[in-house]
């Protein structure tokens, strides 16, 4: 915050102060605070960029993901970087793999791959990330239907849903992710 050092400003400010306070109640005062900048977004332009999907399912489109269809999408769009079975090809990470027998001990095991099955705490994040950022060379190119299918395939490949299960906007937020119970907020981020 800048401080006003110039003494000559003090007198005019003192005179203006009652006017400024008087304006606070009305629309005009809000314009003063807001500088009159910015415009309201059009609904269509907001819809185009408001693409995030959150753990409660907000942002998920209508649709149904089926693992068998998703396997085809995976082979065409993902396997060249992430491997035929989601095992990962450096530098692209592994996507498939359950928690090691020793448990969630990644801090003591530099070689343990962190996958959707053992390190992703929310299934909705898979949909959000794949749709916005994958595949790396053609990001944002998957349709909602393709995204649903490949998410269903990845969840099934990790044993998080049955191969015959499907995912929808209501079922995806309910998929139990094994890693979730291991995540704890750092103390400084929760302190107020």
């Amino acid at each position: 915050m800048r401080r006003l050092h110039a003494l000559p400003l003090a007198l005019p400010l003192a005179l203006l102060l009652p006017l400024m306070l008087a304006g606070c109640a009305g629309e005009r005062a809000r314009d003063e605070v807001m500088f009159g900048l910015g415009r309201a977004p059009e609904p269509a332009e907001l819809a185009r960029i408001d693409i995030d999907v959150t753990p409660n399912g907000d942002g998920l489109p209508e649709g149904t993901g089926v693992p068998a269809r998703g396997e085809i999408v995976y082979r065409e769009q993902c396997a060249s970087c992430h491997g035929a079975n989601g095992e990962g090809i450096r530098p692209s990470p592994a996507l498939v793999g359950r928690t090691p027998a020793a448990g969630h001990v990644f801090a003591l095991d530099p070689g343990a791959p962190q996958t959707i099955g053992n390190y992703w705490p929310y299934a909705t994040t898979v949909f959000d990330y794949v749709r916005r950022a994958m595949p790396l060379k053609n990001p944002g190119s998957l349709s909602n239907a393709q995204t649903y299918d490949v998410v269903a395939y990845l969840l099934a490949a990790n044993g998080l849903i049955a191969p015959t299960d499907s995912v929808t906007r209501t079922s995806l937020p309910r998929v139990v992710m094994p890693a979730r119970r291991f995540f704890v907020p750092e103390y400084r981020s929760v302190a107020r």
Binding site: A40, D52, P91, V105, A112, P121, L136, A179
Partner: protein, 423 residues
């Protein structure tokens, strides 16, 4: 670890010779070595520099002026590695002075390349739990009251390579080059959030980039109102594309990944979005079998920048041990330097006014007796937090902590004056 390619920088391994010292121009016996002079004695001069050195500048008219300043051919600091579309490039701290990182040497980390963005069409949308969702042009953002503040940005993965796979030939650039310090100019989030009117139910905001990764992080509204900025300038000019042109979010003292570049959208929410970068990445597996999430604050840390690998001490004598220290909590309170592997510690000199949430220079004058030495630095911040030893860090965080590495570093000086990274 994140998917950072394993490229290692090319590094000069030329040994010092007396001839190289003379050729590199002007090293006086007994002079205190600056980083650039130490670099000069540690590697062969470039051909262009050699040619320039052969001309007597008092006998020939100099070059005409140019529209853009360029560095002396004797000075060749470079980011490294380069050429990666999903990875990072590191600041050459062993070649820099003072605290401000030149804009073209600011580290960068990008998740799918550096976008080319037209500032006349790029906009910032603030919406969600607000009274008045608004779209701002870049020109409008610059019409708000501006602030200019100096802060570091450190990638929370900084130091991971040196921790996980230490090698003697690592320089400060390779060890801790994912931190840089800049004079930023922009508008406070407090101003912008007052403009849109944040609803009481809003506790988090999702920040989203306009690059090919469309990268997102959730930020507590509390931080946005406290000291967050949307910046459009670094060191007096527009941001560099690699650093977020035309705008980036700046959260002073918090991990670099959250300072979302190429910012296009802020959505006020009542909970974190749990994006990929705050769940499967940028979380810290702990030895107790949990994963620490939302570890936003960068911890107290220091880095000796000279003398280090690849510098070389030509002879016993006085040398300043110089470095940078920083913390995401308040400011640096003191830095101690040890020339003997931690047996004795000596208070380093700090500037009279220690900046908040910014790189701080420290310097300790050390007389090298020509015997093997182990150089260390240890920072303490204004909250009392002390930079931990490597052993203490390993005990607290494990062998694969992922992010937030702030252990004390060691540089080994050999009897012949060569210096290697000691972990």
């Amino acid at each position: 670890m994140d998917t950072v390619p394993d490229d290692e920088p090319q590094r000069s391994t030329h040994k010092i010779t007396r001839r190289a010292v003379v050729r590199s121009g002007g090293l006086l016996a007994g002079a205190v070595l600056t980083p650039s002079l130490m670099r000069a004695v540690s590697q062969e001069p470039l051909p262009a520099a050699s040619a320039a050195a052969q001309t007597d500048p008092t006998r020939t008219p100099g070059a005409p002026s140019d529209s853009l300043g360029t560095r002396s051919p004797f000075e060749t600091p470079r980011l490294t590695p380069v050429g990666v579309t999903s990875g990072s490039s590191w600041t050459p701290h062993h070649l820099l002075h003072g605290t401000v990182t030149p804009a073209d040497l600011h580290f960068h980390r990008h998740h799918n390349g550096i976008p080319s963005i037209d500032p006349t069409t790029h906009t910032l949308t603030i919406h969600g739990l607000v009274e008045r969702p608004l779209v701002f042009t870049m020109a409008e953002l610059q019409r708000f009251p501006s602030v200019t503040r100096t802060h570091f940005i450190e990638c929370s993965g900084n130091g991971g390579r040196a921790y996980n796979n230490p090698r003697p030939d690592m320089s400060p650039q390779v060890v801790d080059g994912l931190t840089s310090n800049t004079e930023w100019t922009g508008v406070t989030l407090a101003t912008l959030l007052r403009t849109v009117g944040v609803k009481d139910s809003a506790t988090w905001a999702l920040a989203e980039g306009g690059d090919a990764a469309v990268m997102t992080r959730s930020v507590p509204v509390r931080k946005l109102l406290d000291d967050a900025l949307i910046v459009y300038a670094q060191n007096g000019e527009a941001l560099r594309p690699a650093n977020g042109y035309p705008i980036r979010l700046l959260l002073p003292g918090w991990e670099g990944n959250m300072c979302v570049k190429w910012l296009r959208r802020l959505e006020l929410m009542d909970a974190p979005a749990m994006s990929r970068e705050e769940t499967s990445k940028y979380t810290d597996p702990m030895p107790n079998g949990t994963s620490r999430q939302f570890s936003f604050v960068m911890d107290v840390k220091s880095l000796i920048t000279s003398p280090t690998q690849p510098h070389h001490l030509p002879e016993p004598g006085w040398y300043p041990i110089r470095g940078i220290a920083w913390t995401g909590s308040g400011n640096i309170a003191r830095v101690d330097v040890s020339p003997d592997g931690g047996r004795s510690w000596h208070a380093a000199t700090l500037p009279p006014l220690v900046p908040r949430l910014a790189h701080t220079r420290f310097e300790y004058l050390w007389k090298w007796d020509g015997k093997p030495a182990r150089l260390m630095s240890r920072a303490v911040d204004s909250t009392g937090a002390v930079q931990p030893t490597l052993d203490a860090f390993r005990k607290a965080r494990g062998t694969a902590p992922g992010y937030h590495y702030n252990a004390i570093r060691t540089w080994d000086v050999a009897g012949d004056g060569s210096i290697t990274f000691g972990g």
